[in-house]
């Protein structure tokens, strides 16, 4: 009987030792990188939804990350969350700020604590030494892509209806600037200059175009600074019986790469769409894994797709939001 207990005890010890060793090796192989992500809420826009989803997919446990995420549009809540992550001792702090100012203190304390900060999508007004890198969309570049396309593909004289987004937003300023410059240089005329307001509203855009039609403005380009407003503009053209798209009189250009917009471009209902890439996570993941994080602001590569060049793969890969399916036009 005693012998039996001894054997049992021995077995127990063996099992215990083996399991701890295994446990250690397992833990060692799964040394997770701790990341705190401060972002805006996904219901803000289709862009943000794609952005948050991308973050969730890339910074997952399977990918070797222990990520915590805070999504709020309130700058002070964002700052509080960032402070919390610094206290938790994260290795990396990724921030897309609701407001560009007010971040100096928190960024400095991150630096002191040895937390490396990477900004994505939105810049912060602070000294560049307060963060490692910023991966942003270059709105001016997007505007240049669109303006160049207009200058090269629309028969002269080019008469543009400009529909701006929220006035003063980075996207509106960047996407307007190259077009306004081209107009100043006399390469094209802006016959109507309107805005979809703070909500980049489809209805407002529609009214802008309806007003231009009522005033008997002659125009052959609609330059709408997001897809929803381009949609509203096209609704106004449809109602007024003005042709548009591939074989039509008015060329339509939108921004943001919503899949419905890309399908409209593919069908020749619209003419072009410019990307605003929400998928920064992959690039940041590469930087972290390789240990080579660049210094300062880095701009993402972005595309313009037109009726002639667009493919299904591109719509699948780069598009955001729901896909209505091939050949389906969203009026």
């Amino acid at each position: 009987m005693k012998r039996l207990t001894r054997v049992g005890l021995l077995l127990l010890v063996v099992v215990l030792v083996l399991s701890t060793v295994c446990g250690f090796t397992l833990a060692a192989s799964k040394k997770l990188i701790k990341v705190g992500i401060v972002n805006l809420p996904p219901e803000e826009s289709g862009y943000r939804q794609a952005n948050v989803e991308d973050m969730n997919v890339v910074f997952s446990r399977e990918n070797g990350y222990d990520a915590k995420q805070t999504n709020t549009a309130d700058n002070s809540e964002q700052i509080a969350a960032a402070r919390g992550y610094i206290r938790d001792g994260v290795d990396y702090l990724l921030i897309s700020a609701a407001n560009a100012s007010g971040w100096d203190d928190v960024l400095r304390s991150a630096k002191r604590a040895g937390v490396r900060v990477i900004l994505f999508d939105r810049a912060i007004d602070t000294d560049p030494s307060n963060y490692e890198a910023a991966l942003l969309s270059d709105m001016h570049y997007e505007g240049r892509l669109a303006t160049d396309w207009v200058l090269n593909n629309v028969p002269k004289p080019i008469n543009v209806v400009l529909i701006r987004g929220q006035l003063g937003s980075a996207a509106e300023i960047g996407r307007s600037a190259p077009l306004l410059k081209a107009a100043e240089e006399g390469k094209l005329n802006i016959v109507a200059d309107g805005t979809g307001g703070d909500t980049w509203s489809l209805e407002e855009a529609r009214k802008v175009v309806e007003a231009a039609i009522a005033a008997k403005k002659d125009f052959n380009v609609i330059y709408a600074q997001n897809d929803g407003m381009a949609q509203g503009a096209v609704q106004a053209l449809e109602a007024a019986g003005i042709s548009h798209g591939k074989n039509g009189k008015v060329k339509i250009i939108g921004f943001d790469f919503n899949r419905f917009a890309l399908r409209n471009v593919q069908a020749g209902y619209w003419d072009a769409d410019v990307q605003c890439n929400p998928r920064q996570a992959g690039q940041i993941d590469q930087w972290i894994k390789s240990g080579k994080i660049p210094k300062g602001i880095v701009y993402q590569e972005e595309l313009i797709l037109t009726t002639d060049t667009i493919t299904d793969e591109q719509i699948e890969k780069y598009g955001i939001n729901a896909d209505p399916g091939k050949g389906v036009i969203t009026r």
Binding site: E43, A192, W200, L202, K207, A215, A239, G241
Partner: protein, 370 residues
């Protein structure tokens, strides 16, 4: 005779919205004489007036509900855009999951969204009438949270409504020259008019709005009446959401009917209604809603700089309200009478000058009056 007098009283109630509308029409006619011109495009009427009627349809429907809520509860529902977004999200989900889209699917979807509107109205109404929460505070809950709910119902994307029937509801039915949203709005207005004519709703709502305690003593339960107005508001939101989503062809939970409560409240005020409840005029609110739409388009027509357009709108509204306010009206009448009685040498131009003076003087007195 008393009936005639009541008619005139009714009309004087509409003085404010109508005079504002007339001023806007005059501005537009000065800008271009062909303002009222209507042409046929692809078998549908097209022109400034159809565009205004088309663009204002959701606002008109919402301002009807807002008038009732304001009159009974002496407060405003600020969650109307959000509740429209939620009910239309449910409509879109039903249509997308129902398989083949027929007229029947759309109708059933519409009825389901109306039920959703009723549920939302019941939620707000319960808070306001039974828990005595201020209407703006009670509806603030959905104003803040409603879009998230709609976003989740949408499955975190903005679903596309690309079927033929939805497209026709949002634009025109072939063979019918009037855009469908205009027809739907007209039908809705007729239904509301019939309800107000055939039931005691107006009497009850006004009684509760004027004095809830007196209404209760006379056998009207203020809680029930206020609850009822919120239910009706819910249905109005659902109908407006239905029209809006079919117009857009896409359910954008973020932007659908955003901030429309501001315009709806303004429409109620422009319609000559007191925002403090009591007697109300739905006709006034409807005219007010069309006036706001016309104002928005007038600013675009005048090619106001996009940066300045909101400030211009605010200034326009203040000026229009002051010019059309009862205080100015009384002053104008008084000066006209004086001018008649004192001397005949007062020329028309001078009275015009005096009127202008009166307008600026009454600017402050008008505020005091309120």
């Amino acid at each position: 005779m008393p009936r005639l007098k009541r008619r005139i009283n009714n009309l004087s109630h509409l003085f404010l919205p109508l005079s504002v509308l007339v001023i806007l029409i005059i501005i537009n006619l000065i800008k271009g004489a062909d303002y009222f011109r209507i042409t046929m495009v692809n078998g549908a009427l097209y022109g400034n007036i159809p565009n205004i009627l088309f663009g204002a349809s959701e606002l008109v429907i919402l301002s009807i509900g807002m008038t009732l809520v304001t009159a009974a509860s002496r407060g405003q529902d600020i969650s109307i855009g959000e509740s429209g977004a939620i009910s239309s999200a449910i409509f879109v989900q039903y249509v997308l999951n129902a398989g083949e889209v027929t007229l029947c699917t759309i109708l059933v979807g519409f009825l389901i969204s109306c039920v959703a509107g009723l549920v939302i109205g019941a939620f707000n109404g319960t808070l306001v009438s039974f828990f005595n929460v201020q209407p703006m505070v009670a509806t603030l809950i959905l104003f803040l949270g409603g879009r998230s709910i709609a976003f989740i119902i949408d499955g975190k994307v903005s679903p596309i409504l690309a079927n033929e029937i939805s497209n026709r509801i949002g634009t025109v039915i072939p063979g019918v020259p009037i855009p469908t949203p205009i027809i739907l709005t007209a039908v809705f207005i007729v239904v509301v008019a019939v309800v107000l004519r055939t039931t005691n709703l107006r009497l009850y709502v006004e009684a509760v709005g004027v004095n809830p305690s007196a209404a209760r003593l006379n056998g009207i339960n203020p809680k029930k009446v206020i609850f009822l107005t919120f239910l009706l508001m819910g249905v109005c939101s659902a109908v407006a959401g239905f029209i809006a989503v079919n117009k857009a062809g896409r359910h954008d939970s973020v932007n659908l009917l955003k901030f429309i409560m501001m315009d709806a409240i303004l429409a109620v005020a422009l319609g000559g209604n007191s925002l403090g409840g009591g007697k109300f005029s739905i006709t006034g609110s409807i005219i007010g809603a069309y006036t706001i739409e016309m104002l928005n388009r007038t600013l675009l027509r005048l090619e106001v700089n996009p940066e300045a357009i909101k400030a211009f709108k605010a200034v326009f509204i203040i000026v229009l309200m002051v010019i059309a306010s009862p205080v100015v009206r009384v002053f104008v009448k008084k000066f006209l009478d004086e001018a008649k009685t004192i001397v005949a040498r007062y020329s028309v131009r001078q009275t015009g000058g005096l009127n202008k003076g009166a307008a600026s003087i009454t600017d402050t007195t008008g505020k005091k009056g309120e």
